[in-house]
């Protein structure tokens, strides 16, 4: 059990800085997710916690210990790799026992611990098999088992589900969540999949190009994204972004073509300032009123059964706009819809910096 603290952590390869100062405090027993597109530095950050990458500057603490100069073995962590990294020449049992054997545990205890972990993960029947005789999902479990038997104070997960098929991924996602809750071990999980991030994490760190875009709970990130990047990254289907100007009284946004939407509160921006308006597909509803609505020309309709996705063109610039409606809606391509959004669901961002404007 341990907390993890990042104190102004930087990483550079030569002159190429890839992590630009991360400050974070992960609480004991917390499950946090680092999420971002590929190349954002999320794996690098995790590997710095593991001790597989050198920390260029700054400090990382696990518990009370500064781990900057500690070997991976001394950090009391366990890691699950994307490709599982099972030792191919060892049986499942030996894979799981390897770390315990090195620590010099008595044989009996090794057997007990492996058996217990195998029971939890339901891989007891495969202990004598070699990894290549296992399916992807089973290998995944063995990799998890190898992490559990060590009883570390921190779990690190490096995109552990990305090699599994969609169905298995959902199942394993639930199991990882359940397991973490049962064991209560501080966990850091890296993924590029925002659904994994939202469902697993108590808190999330959204990383982009080595900068922390936002820290917060999944709900916070969803309801009040700090930047347009976070807004577009979190939530599925993704938020639509439209160019607009602030209206005369600062209480509405005006789009090209004349449509306007009322916003919550009053912005301190001058009338006519350019802004980016973010609208989530699930917050858009049809309306019969002419005022406070947008006119959308339907381009594509996707029926998913539970809901219907409508992709439309908005305004003279034909900006993309996605609308999600519950159930099955009979709407034709080419039709014009009037839609609106509640003021509290309208997100406004600075078009230059991408920062949120309230």
């Amino acid at each position: 059990m341990a907390e993890i603290r990042f104190n102004k952590v930087y990483k550079a390869y030569g002159n190429n800085e890839v992590i630009h100062g991360v400050d974070w405090h992960i609480r004991d027993g917390e499950f946090v997710v680092i999420v971002g597109p590929s190349g954002c530095g999320k794996s690098t950050l995790l590997r710095m916690v593991a001790g597989l990458e050198v920390i260029t500057s700054g400090e990382i603490f696990i518990g009370d210990r500064l781990v900057n100069d500690l070997e991976p073995a001394e950090r009391d962590i366990a890691m699950v790799f994307q490709n599982y990294a099972l030792y191919p020449h060892m049986s499942v049992f030996k894979n799981m026992a390897y770390g315990l054997k090195i620590r010099g545990l008595p044989k009996q205890e090794i057997e007990q611990r492996v058996q217990k972990a195998a029971d939890i993960l339901e891989i007891g029947d495969y202990l004598k098999r070699s990894p290549r005789q296992l399916s992807g999902g089973q290998r995944q479990r063995v990799a998890m088992g190898r992490a559990i038997v060590r009883q570390p104070s921190v779990f690190l997960f490096d995109e552990p589900l990305s090699n599994l098929d969609a169905k298995l991924r959902v199942q394993m996602r639930l199991e990882i969540k359940k397991l973490q809750e049962e064991l209560g071990i501080t966990s850091v999980y890296v993924t590029h999949d925002q659904i994994e991030a939202m469902t697993l994490g108590h808190r999330l760190m959204v990383l982009k190009d080595g900068y922390v875009e936002q820290l917060g709970t999944p709900i916070e990130l969803y309801e009040r994204p700090a930047t347009s990047f976070v807004a577009g990254f979190i939530g599925s289907p993704a938020m639509s972004f439209l160019d607009a100007e602030i209206g005369e009284d600062g209480r509405q946004v005006v789009f090209e073509g004349g449509d306007r939407l009322a916003i919550a509160g009053r912005l301190s921006l001058d009338a006519g300032s350019r802004v980016t308006v973010g609208l989530r597909p699930e917050h858009l509803v049809r309306t019969e009123e002419e005022a406070d609505s947008l006119h959308i020309k339907v381009r594509v309709v996707e029926h998913l059964g539970a809901d219907t996705l409508i992709h439309g063109d908005f305004g003279p610039g034909k900006a993309d706009l996605t609308i999600r409606m519950d159930g099955i809606e009979q709407i034709r391509t080419g039709e014009t819809l009037r839609i609106k959004a509640a003021p509290e669901h309208i997100h406004i961002f600075d078009p230059e910096t991408g920062g949120r404007i309230d």
Binding site: L52, P72, Y87
Partner: protein, 293 residues
């Protein structure tokens, strides 16, 4: 998934195969069949007459103390060459695998000896260790060690072993390095997190995973020591002193071309043939079954 091109007529594939088949027939099957034939003949030294004597050449061979000694020498020599060349190559590969800057330079330099012809390698080492003017011998004498491989059989054996191993290190190095680079980095990292120090990681993860490479190289090195070291032996010791480095393949040459015992020499060739066939079969059988992941 199997993908293959199927030719509709049979003429073209045979035509395409013909050069290789011809080379194999002329340079391998023809001499081999000649050796088989000659091994059951006794021929006079001038090649004027020959007599069919069944397996007398073979029984004579295995009754001959010199031949049995040569077998022993060959076994020792090939084992020594394989062990030396493989151990050093593995060490170098481990080191080269860790080098980040200028790795290509190291690798290129380490591969060069492979391009040296055996006879040339032999001459090189012969000069270094020449009892009267070799620079190494001079240095050894300075520290009080008397070197003369022309008289001392053990020294002669050591010298041909070193010469032969030196050339083979490059070959082994390449395979070991490739083998190591094929091991996913995450395995090593997982072992590091599991608490294994570098030495332990090497012996419990890297080395076992190199087993297929190691086994393949073992067979290749033994084959090399058996057959391709002729040039080195010929240049450095000529099988001497007193047969101390007279390995089987050198004895074939010596008895056949110098001793002019063509039948006996052919019989020795046949024995060698049998050995290489055994080694090959062993390699395929074992590699297919055991040492594979």
């Amino acid at each position: 998934m199997e993908k293959r091109v199927v030719f509709r007529q049979t003429f073209l594939p045979y035509l395409l195969l013909a050069p290789q088949v011809l080379v194999t027939l002329v340079f391998f099957f023809w001499p081999a069949s000649q050796a088989l034939y000659q091994s059951v003949l006794r021929e006079d030294a001038f090649g004027l007459s020959s007599e069919f004597i069944w397996f007398e050449n073979f029984s004579a061979l295995f009754a001959e103390a010199e031949y049995l000694h040569s077998l022993e020498v060959t076994a020792l020599f090939s084992l020594a060459v394989a062990t030396t060349a493989m151990t050093i190559a593995l060490y170098l590969a481990v080191q080269a695998d860790r080098v980040i800057h200028g790795a290509m330079v190291y690798k290129t330099l380490l591969i060069w000896p492979y391009a040296v012809a055996p006879a040339v390698a032999g001459v090189l080492w012969m000069f270094l260790f020449n009892p009267s003017m070799g620079i190494v011998v001079f240095a050894l004498r300075a520290v009080g060690y008397d070197w003369n491989h022309a008289l001392n059989g053990h020294q002669a054996m050591a010298l041909v072993t070193v010469s032969a191993a030196w050339k083979q290190i490059s070959y082994n190095f390449l395979f070991f390095l490739a083998g190591m680079q094929a091991i996913p980095k995450s395995l090593i990292e997982a072992a590091a997190i599991d608490g294994a120090r570098p030495a332990r990681r090497f012996w419990t993860i890297v080395f076992p995973l190199l087993a297929p490479t190691t086994f393949f190289l073992l067979v290749m090195n033994v084959v090399y020591a058996f057959f391709d070291t002729f040039g080195i032996i010929h240049q450095v010791t000529e099988g001497g002193p007193a047969g101390a480095t007279n390995i089987l393949v050198y004895k074939v040459f010596h008895d056949g071309f110098l001793g002019l015992d063509l039948g006996g020499s052919a019989a020795q060739s046949v024995v060698l043939m049998a050995i290489v066939i055994l080694l090959t079969v062993f390699q395929f059988q074992y590699i297919e079954r055991k040492v594979h992941y």
